[in-house]
Amino acid sequence: MQRQRPWLSILFWVLISFLTLFPIYWLFVISVKPAVDLFSTPDLILKSFYWDNYTEVLSDRTLRGYMMNSLIVSTGNAVLVTTLGFLACYALTRYDLGGKESIFFWMITNRMAPPAVFLLPLFLLMTQYYRIGDFTLLDTKIGLILVYCTLNLPFAIWTLRPTVEGIPKELDEAAYVDGASAWKVITEIVFPLARPGVAVTLILTWVFAWNEYLLAATLTNFNARTLTTGLSEYVTTTGTEWGIMATISVFTLIPALIVFSLVQRHIVTGLTFGAVKG
């Protein structure tokens, strides 16, 4: 075997980590700089902090509204998707449904199509057909929550299925023998045991919904704008407010970074969608 030289490896990875972290660090630097300093020769080290961008973003009613919308949509979608996915996985693993493997495969393929393809049909359907009286789904939070299901529901089913499958069927059967209802079995026996898997699914679907831009940008125009669409509104051809843009980016990034520390191990499985066992 060749000799191991740990300090060389460490040096190499310090360099790689620098390449990974520097762009994120730089985003923060821009967000705490006054606009006049942006055009001078940059200092790599921060010497002073200028928090006006942060107070401006936080005091902006529109942006606060966008943040609220993002929170409601991601939380609503994560809860909905995890609940539906959990029930679907229970059905798929405990019942002998005809063609359930085909149904499973079909549900998963819903995620594979590029979202851009669905911009036009979703927009047209939501303006014309998906309506109750005067209420259309376009530009509503509930509309976004439902639309994100096509992205997140297949994912939730994919990640929850092994969890639910791993809970012994004998437990449910014993409860049924004791006269428990299906609802009671699901909520009081299967769900508590599946809790770790459910938590990971909930967190990752939450982040996916929080990070989404394309559909939010086209299916909302005023009432249900999310933080990511707010970010793009600050980029205009006539002049971008760089500091504000960086600050909104930081705000969008923070939840993802918190989540990252929680579910770091599961991210790969989530992103590769299980195609590679990692």
Binding site: Q4, P6, S9, I10, W13, I16, T20, L21, P23, I24, W26, I30, L38, T41, P42, L84, G85, L87, A88, A91, L92, Y95, D96, M107, M112, P114, P115, A116, F118, L119, L120, P121, L122, L124, L125, L146, C149, T150, L153, A182, V207, N211, Y213, L214, T228, L231, S232, A246, S249, T252, L253, A256, F260, Q264, I267, V268, L271, T272, V276, G278
Partner: protein, 291 residues
């Protein structure tokens, strides 16, 4: 076991949601692609016009340019990610202190929103405020202008994608390398094979399925790249970075020519499916042969 009715009842909400937001939009867009419909034209009715939309599409310079740059982008991005990702995975196969820590940092970009990645790279590369053009100018006298140079804009989008997604390749490659049995490698060393021979004749054939699976995932993702490029270059300059998703978002969606827009969407979906299917065959066929 309980009755299957209850099973269907539990599955029903999922099926209903996916039906309304997955199946119906799909058939609707396919149906529209064969019709002429522009609500603001002289004739605002929906009229069946056969394959006319697709005939128009074949000669649409904007679409063809977009298709061309998308292929180039996907090719360069995925190839670079694969090479760098494999090299980094090999570097992770050694033992050194702090390995888990470095791996965590390396994974960080994966959780970031694509649009934030776009905004970060925009802040770093925009001429006059970006740090990269400033240093390139100071040190090499090179003028990096992603607003004017098509090549610069294209290269920066590739680099951005590499920064964002190489960690995914690294992690899948690590998983593949860790699962390799040590025997063939020891045998090859005894037989006096050099590093290059070991790589080409032992490592590569053994991790081929993992490589194909990774390429599959990355290709699917790279084909749907929109947010970050939209943020960074807006598809410009000209059509240099107007990848298919960006093309739909910027050129097709805002116009009211819905029939034609549907045809573009359908073709993009069709191309994705074809690529997907080709890779699936390449991926599954060799596995089945073995088993």
């Amino acid at each position: 076991m309980q009755s299957n009715k209850l099973g269907w009842f539990l599955l029903a909400p999922t099926l209903v949601v996916l039906f309304f937001f997955g199946v119906i939009p799909f058939f609707y867009v396919v149906w529209l692609a064969f019709h002429q419909w522009n609500p603001f034209a002289v004739n605002p009715e929906i009229v069946f016009n056969g394959a006319a939309n697709f005939r128009q599409l074949v000669f649409d310079q904007g679409f063809l340019a977009s298709l061309g740059v998308t292929i180039a982008f996907v090719f360069f991005a995925v190839t670079t990610e694969l090479i760098i990702g494999y090299a980094l995975a090999q570097a992770f196969m050694r033992d050194f202190p702090g390995k888990a820590f470095f791996r965590t940092i390396h994974t960080l970009p994966l959780i970031m929103a694509p649009i934030i990645v776009g905004s970060i790279w925009k802040l770093m590369t925009t001429p006059s405020i970006g740090i990269i053009p400033q240093f390139l100018d100071n040190w090499f006298g090179y003028d990096l202008n992603i607003g004017q140079s098509a090549l610069a804009a294209f290269t920066v989008t590739v680099i951005m994608d590499v920064w964002h997604w190489t960690p995914l390749v690294t992690l899948t490659m690590i998983a593949a390398l860790v699962s390799l049995p040590p025997d063939p490698f020891e045998q090859a060393q005894i037989d006096g094979a050099n590093k290059r021979q070991i790589f080409w004749h032992i490592t590569l054939p053994m991790i081929r399925p993992a490589i194909l699976a990774t390429v599959f995932i990355r290709l699917m993702d790279a084909l749907r790249t929109v947010d970050e490029v939209l943020m960074l270059t807006g598809g410009g300059p000209g059509s240099a970075t107007r990848y298919l998703g960006v093309h739909i978002f910027k050129e097709v969606f805002p116009k009211t020519n819905y029939g034609y827009g549907s045809a573009v969407s359908v073709i993009v979906l069709y191309l994705t499916i074809v690529v997907c299917w080709l890779l699936f065959v390449a991926l599954i066929a060799p596995r089945n042969k073995k088993g």
